[in-house]
Amino acid sequence: MTRLFSFLSSAVLLCLFSPAMAEGIARPAEHAGGTLHLAAQSSPGTTDPQVSYFMAMYQVEAVVYDGLTTFTKGPGPLSRHAIADLAESIPQPQDDGHTWIFHLRRNIRFSNGKLLSPDDVVASMRRIFRVNSPTAGPYYSNIVGGAECLKDPDHCTLENGVIADNQAWTVTFHLTRPDAEFADRLAFNHAVILPADTPAHDTGNSAPPGTGPYRIVSYDPSSSMRLERNTHFRQWDAAAQPAGYPDRIEYRFGSDPESSVTAIENGQYDWMAENIPLDRLAELGSRFADRVHIVDFLNLYYAALNVNIPPFNSLKVREALNYAVNRHAMVIHNGGPAVAAPSCQMLPEGSPGFEPVCYWTRGADPQHPALRWEAPDMEKAKQLVRESGTAGQKVTVITAQQPEYMAMANELRSTLAELGYDASVRSMVQAVQFGYIQNSDNRVQISLTGWNADYPAASSYLRTLLACDMFHPHSDNSINISGYCDPDTDRLMDRAADLSVTDRNAGDRLWAEADRRFMAQVPTVPLVQVRWVMPLSARVKGDVSAPVYQVVFSRFQIR
């Protein structure tokens, strides 16, 4: 009788849960449930994942959408490359790197219940161009037909570039040139897969359906965003897209960082989007040390020197400033050694291709490099300025108005004044400043900015920030802010990219060589690499950090 009961019970349970067992879990067995409360000063803009370009929205989209590939949503090294997500695996490129064939996972549904198919992948790739996604040009135009799509987005077909096979359940990409970073680019949120019938325009406050464990059920940019579980989600790979712990995610906007810190301390919020105000670091470190996580990420603060106008068109002046800048002071301005580290090169520590080298510290030069920055060399710097004959010139540092930027800009101004320049600082709202410093018409001499790559790759720093074709005179969209151009180094970067297709390590060595070349010509002053201080409420359990995303909301366990 007992045996019969046991058998019947097992059979009933098997019948009830067989779909979940076959397709994976919808929610973790333990610690699941509750509402996660997030805070931000302002809303992160459009919810359209192929248009949005804000980190805060990127983090939300990470738990709502999936691409063919993704970055791991668990703790791990910064330099980790993309892993398979909606694709079963990352394929080996064929045809000398020109062709990538992705096998799509089966039985995956969007949050509206529709089954994901290869046609959705093709439509989503097409939509990148049709909605004028910010990265359509730099990341996806090497797909065959991509260049035409950039010119005429409304009639974009990519018919020979992205091909669906609904029988074999595959999607084939044809590229115009081999691309070692193609899998990484597909992992970026602009390449997430949406239903084929998603409108070909920015969906604004209405989020399209996704395949992740959550769906955005309401969004009012003036007040809040609410996410609930996607009932059609079944976990297929915990590293790529883990099933979420919290049942709901409430994101509130309008809380300034000081208030958010206090609210987290008091348990009213669980997490905040902004950097912690520097004056609260000590308090958090002493009273809430067990609730503070310090997350590594590839964020670099640097000063871009305009190499096309005085005084920084002189190599001696650029070298002088690099020698003179007190990077230890910059570390202090960013919260001290626990949070920031001095930087001597454009590739941040932890990124692919990073090889430590410092030319511009006391006792070093390009012929006798040091491994790390030690101290400024003001005497050498003043000597170089004297040789350049530029002392006394007016120099204006353009900066954003955030406290850490202002502090660093004032430090730079002091250094320039000590070198003999008539230096001043002009601050602007960051949204204005970032476009202003890019436009050569504004004749910005030196500007302070930060760069956090979309994905971990040397090219995201070196090619994006310093290649000749990234300098567009008279345009607000010229991310090579220094206006620097060295065709030889560009060719070296091309070789590095080509070599990476077959041998990533060899490619990385060439990227390191390109980094050294840039630093010998110093079109920038790398200042500091910072870590992100993340306080969590007492309710939160577990390590919720992840490279690239910094934090994964689905992994918050609410006590």
Binding site: G335, V339, P403, E411
Partner: protein, 329 residues
Amino acid sequence: MFSSGPWGQAIRALRYNRSAMIALAVLLALALLCALAPIYARHIAKTDPFTSNVAGTVLVNGQETDIMQPNDNPLHLGLSPIGPTWHPQSFLLGADSQGRDVAARLLYGGRNSLIIAFGAATLCILMASCIGIAAGFFGGITDAVLSRLMDIMWAVPVYLFAISLSIVTITQGLKIGPFTIASDNLMIPVFIIALVYVPYAARPVRGRVMTLRSAEFVIAARSLGVPRRRILVKDILPNVLPTLVVLAPLLTALSLLAESSLSFLSIGVQAPAASWGTIIQDGEGLIYTRPMVAVAPGLMIVITVLALNILGDGLRDALDVRETSRRSG
């Protein structure tokens, strides 16, 4: 010592007003202290209050101490600037987030704040006098045009008006004909603040002139054929002057507050120069750890504005406009 004329009487009355005299003494002391800022910075504190010094050290009780001090917490998070040492030679009021001496900056900042406040009040009174006297004395179309212009300016909230003008001038400087004023020149906040308060000063001046215009001694002068210019200079202006003198401290106080607000919003005095408003902004991020950075300039503003208001009250009592006009009439 003083003549027995109305000004002499007014000064005598002011001298007997203890509150007003204390306020005047406080203002003079503040102005003197601020004027001595370079001497304090160079010879006493031996510091450059405009240069970042976060990596520097200072001698405190004979011991070399980091200006930015690491916080004693398990995660070693954050650094705090040195707090008040109460020694004039070594960071009397502590350091700000740039490692600069707060006391020295407070004096330099006070110099700029007071220059802007007095400068703006003076310029405002000059402009308001011209407009108010012209409108009140000439009347007719002149009055209609000038009064409507003042009404339009009055309709725009003062701070909104000042912020708008500041944002434009802060990026491009100010060009008036062949003259260009750089965006970091103190004349820009002086001009902007003076301009936004013109309607507030011009209207009472106009009212006073209109009253005077129908006063018996002015009517008598007219009927005797005295030229208008002479009436204006000899009869109207001397009687408007008390109104302007009473307005001056109040406008100075308002200008000081406006300057502080604009500088706090980064659209007044530009770095590395300081004003009490910019120092409050510097201290905003240190309010939990080093409140003195924001509190000290805040107190200076409160004391100065209070002193100016008390002095204004004293002047109003001493130069009672209505009483004077009755005497004049």
